[in-house]
């Protein structure tokens, strides 16, 4: 046991003094987080020009206000010429034109026609725009500005969670799972590879510590380093307001899920280290493995949005269960379903160790 702790202390000391290892661990999730935030800004709220060619009309003004109040795009009221110029220069993605005589025609029951000019490059942003106009029209009709609202269908909404989490917070949870797996893989894997690269593996082998103690030391150090990274990131997100402060039970569940995912990562890490044995290969393979597992588990998308075949794949990847446990405990303040998540994570951690320990043992024996 003493030998195990000595190895854990040594590997943690090396980890703390290795900014390159920390960078390789933290950089991919951070970069991914940054790019997803940038992507969400560019595709969720596009600029739209509003043109009112019926300036004195009461209904036209009400429709303009409904469009200005809509939070699905960034509206700007422009003259017809300025709007066309902005559209041609790609400064706006669409132009909504309220035609001249709109209010009078509406009052007379002559069904005036709005023009919705759309820059239809790709389906994603175009469908957002296609959804936007009916929403604006519905809000306008519900305001009563067009007389009696003819839409007799109302929507009664019930939500599963008491409030909507923000998209960034939701994505942050996926990143946390990626970070922990990456940290487990890299920290345990690089700690093992380093022994081969520096030749210190010989010293370990002639020491009185058994191979199992050596492996246990590597795995525990990898898990602890990953846990420290995960807890620090979680604390930062709580302090910055991205995640609410968890209760004791929720924090305990999150920490347990972190440890189990990191154990799976560390087991896989030492197995890869035994096979790859160089820093360069270990870095690139572990980044690829963790990114593949991240995207195959849905990454920052909910499981339900994935195609059926991908959902099946995701259900055998530990990130899926870790992300669910993190979301329930850290984002929604709930414990629902976390027992199942933790059970699957425990199975994954055991599988990681079952693969990793014999692989590294064989590596040391050679």
């Amino acid at each position: 046991m003493q030998a195990v702790w000595a190895l854990v202390r040594k590997d943690l000391a090396v980890w703390i003094r290795s900014p390159a290892v920390m960078a390789v661990t933290i950089l991919p999730p951070l970069v991914l987080m940054l790019v997803l935030a940038l992507q969400s800004v560019s595709v969720t709220s596009v600029p739209v020009a509003l043109v009112d060619q019926d300036p004195g009309g009461q209904a036209a003004t009400a429709l303009l206000h409904a469009a200005e109040a809509f939070d699905g795009f960034r509206p700007q009221v422009l003259t017809p010429g300025a709007a066309q110029q902005a559209f041609a220069r790609l400064q706006v993605a669409a132009v909504l034109t309220i035609p001249a005589g709109f209010s009078a025609n509406l009052a007379a029951g002559r069904q005036p026609t709005l023009q919705w000019q759309v820059r239809n490059y790709a389906t994603d942003s175009t469908n957002d725009l296609r959804r936007a106009l009916p929403d604006v029209v519905t809000a306008f009709l519900q305001s009563g500005a067009a007389g009696k609202n003819p839409i007799g269908v109302s929507i009664a909404e019930q939500d599963v969670h008491p409030h909507d989490a923000s998209l960034v917070s939701f994505e942050m949870i996926g990143m946390l799972a990626l970070l922990l797996l990456q940290a487990g893989l890299i920290n345990a894997g690089l700690a093992a590879v380093k022994e081969w690269e520096t030749g210190s593996v010989k010293e370990l082998l002639i020491s009185p510590a058994s191979p199992l103690n050596i492996i246990a030391g590597k795995v525990i150090a990898g898990v602890l380093a990953a846990d420290i990274t995960g807890v620090v990131l979680t604390a930062v997100t709580v302090v910055t307001g991205l995640l609410p402060a968890p209760g004791a039970a929720q924090a305990g569940i999150a920490l347990l899920a972190m440890t189990l995912l990191a154990t799976f990562g560390a087991g896989a890490g030492v197995a890869l280290a035994a096979a790859l044995r160089t820093n360069e290969r270990m870095n690139s393979v572990s980044i690829n493995v963790s990114l593949y597992l991240f995207f195959l588990s849905g990454g920052v998308i909910a499981l339900a949005y994935m195609p059926a075949w991908l959902r099946l794949v995701a259900r055998i990847i530990p990130n899926t269960y870790a992300a669910d446990a993190f979301r329930q405990s850290l984002l929604y303040g709930s414990t629902a379903g976390t027992a199942t998540d933790l059970l699957w994570l425990a199975v994954a951690a055991a599988a990681g160790l079952v693969v990793g320990i014999p692989a590294l043992r064989r590596g040391l024996a050679h």
Binding site: L106, S166, N288
Partner: protein, 363 residues
Amino acid sequence: MRAAWAVAKNDLLLLRAQPVAAIITVAVPINFLILFVLFAISGGVVPVTLQAGAQGPATRAFVQALEGSSTFDVHPVSTAQQASAAIRSQNSVAAITVPADLNQALRPGGHATVDVTINNLNGDFADDIRRGLPLAVSLFYRQAAPGTLPLRWREVDSYPTTVGFLAFLAVSIQTVALLIGGLLQGGLGVAREWESGTVKELLLAPVPGWSVVLGKLMSAFLGALAGAVLVFLALLLLGVRPQAWAELIGVFVLVLIVFVSLGVGVGSALRSRNTVFPLAFGLGLPLFFISGPFAPIPWGTAAAADVARVFPVVYANAAFQHAAFGFWTLDTSVSASWLILAAWTAVALAASVWFYHRATAAR
């Protein structure tokens, strides 16, 4: 020139001698394509269950409206329990219940309530449902009772067809393949000389420094080309059919020279493969993402667009999209963008020579 060929040949032979490292580096761009495809195939439409109280024409029209809204992937269920189970098992994110008296809503003064339970995982996902339902309701009225709505709207599209999200994104991935592949191949090839100490031999050789740089550029170009061609073949498999082959090849070559040259410069400056690797990803990916792979940059934040305009990635993305789909997605003109790309090529080539000279002079 002979020395340049010798350096290039040596580097290519080294790639053959280290097949694992070579495969990993060449496979990086195709990896990105696969990862982005995994990202893009999820999240296009919202999976919902639909429980209908009756099977009349009104219900059929409402289901058609839901399906025609480009928002929902509708899965019919018979009971509320099945709908709840689908949400719990994460096979759907909302349960829509259409009332038996939906046809009442089509009569003057009539009313019906559609119940929806939303698994509001986050505001963005939930808003898609909240915005998709009014669209479905308005489509329902347009179809089932055309004269009911007091106003109409007409969509005027700029292009005859709307490109699928996956194809639109995939074309820009060609840029990231060239970007990451070029930086890695250029950077790793040069940094290796310092790590293995063979830079001394290059310095002692009776050849000018520029010929060493040229050799490095040629070998890196070929290495990165292999990865980029793999990505291009994958794009063809994904159904992308370029409209302008000459433009595509032109931007392909020009952009590859830019990134390979920058890679050689970065490798000379850093002299460590362990640093080149994360730097290629750390710099390359954010640049790619702010450079319009999802939508034109003027539609995003002004600060990100201003940063993007400084670098060549945004012009490369726009040129690839233009070559593939025939539309231009940038507020800089086509000719100005090509001029900027040409200027970047000259600057990057000069930078690769300058950084190598600076690094070798420092020794």
